[in-house]
Amino acid sequence: MAALLEVKGLKAFYGQTQSLYDVGFEIETGGITTLLGANGAGKTTTLRAICNMVRREGLIRFDGKDIKNMPTEEVVRLRIAHVPEGRGTFTTLTVDENLRIAAYTRKDKAAVNRELERVFSYFPRLQERVQQQAGTLSGGEQQMLAIARALMLGPRLMLLDEPSFGLAPLIVVEIFRILRRINEEEKVSILLVEQNAALALDLADHAYVLETGHVVMSGPSAVIKNDENIRKSYLGY
């Protein structure tokens, strides 16, 4: 089976500073892949490079199509949903508007409403707060909102940047359970960036370990998880 996303020899730059040197990985259709590594290893930059939010070189192919020269908004329209670091809440808009914005190009209102219903079935908590200003939500709720908004794009691939960041452990467990359901029920492939390696390896089927802009290790999650050497030297637990 061909890979859904294929990344080869990816380099990325912030101004003069190069932050990715040679990143390559593949995501299988329907799979969950995780990128692990310490702070500054280039995990977030890799996600940003896929969506063309930083200057980049190398090959990025989505569903067999080269997306190297596409602006961010066109990449997204291929149904690649990016849940960014910091959740990207539209703080002055309502929860409802935060979700509908992801469907604003769609003419069929009834279909958008059905989509909303479906998204709320994963996140009933958001439905209770649908007319509330999104900036007033708690951190966990805003993270749910960010994932729900990504889901409104009807994505084939979801890029998640540290969904556990700054959240209480119970909320994190809830969110990861929902991610698992989204992957299974919606057939959404997932690329997950996480600091919390144990958590990520439980969810993902494949893992890549980044260090200072290079992929240094990769394999099935189970293998990486059980390799004490990798765990001690790269994952720190």
Binding site: P71, F90, T91, E97, R100, A102
Partner: protein, 301 residues
Amino acid sequence: MEQFLQQVASGLANGAIYACVALALVMIYVSTDHINFAQGEMAMFSTYISWQLMSWGVSFWIAFILAVVLSFVLGVVIERVILRPLHNAPVLSIVVVFIGLLAIFNSVAGAIWSYLIKEYPSPFPKSSFGIAGVIGPHQLGVVLVTLIVLGLLFAFFRYTPLGLAMRAAAQNPQMARLVGVRVDWMLALGWGLAAAVGAVAGIMVAHIVYLDPNMMGGILLYAFAGALVGGIGNPGGAVLGGFIVGVLENMVAFAGNQIEKASGIYIIGNGEKLTVALIIVIFVLTVRPAGIFGRVVVKRV
């Protein structure tokens, strides 16, 4: 008493104009953090376009609509052609571009239509409009037209998907891109709408201040004062601020006249209206920079 009501009414009419221009300023400010100093001259240019159309025999309201639509297109083109290449430029460069645009529109209008002051018609019938002794036909018409335009704009931003996309693009451009919004086009659209609202203001005020290339200079200042009073980042506040400034300047002049009548001492009058606007600007900037309805944006460092 009648005089007082008249002053309030004409203040509201002026305020409606300031509200439109203030809204135009705010629309561009919220999405780019820049104040378009050329907004007034663009509105003046639009007004000349409508005048030109009328002198070719087009009726007032058709000329009004055509001028507003042309202004919208002109606004979009200015953003795409002149400002787009500068979107990473330092603030000062952009300020210089705005001042350049101001000078260009002013002198081009002067070159085409001359600097002679022209009369500009009012479309509102004297017989059936206005309330005798309280508000004149043109003043009432101005208030109604601007309220309709502001209402339409509000509905557009509040209830349409495109309006939502524009608000999202202004609030968080990067995230807007990540949900597929073409942010660059939203900015251009914002410029178009600002130019169109400005055009409405120019066409409505021309009957009062007469048509000449410098007609909007003072009005831009009042509008800026209004936008600041309401909160420069808050469209609803800016509209309200425009009305407040309009009424306030008349009240100050009115109070000055009353004092002069009663005591014979001249303190303040019609001649100092613009000074009042400038005092408001300075006062707001020093005492409450976020405006009455604005929120202080706290940035995390």
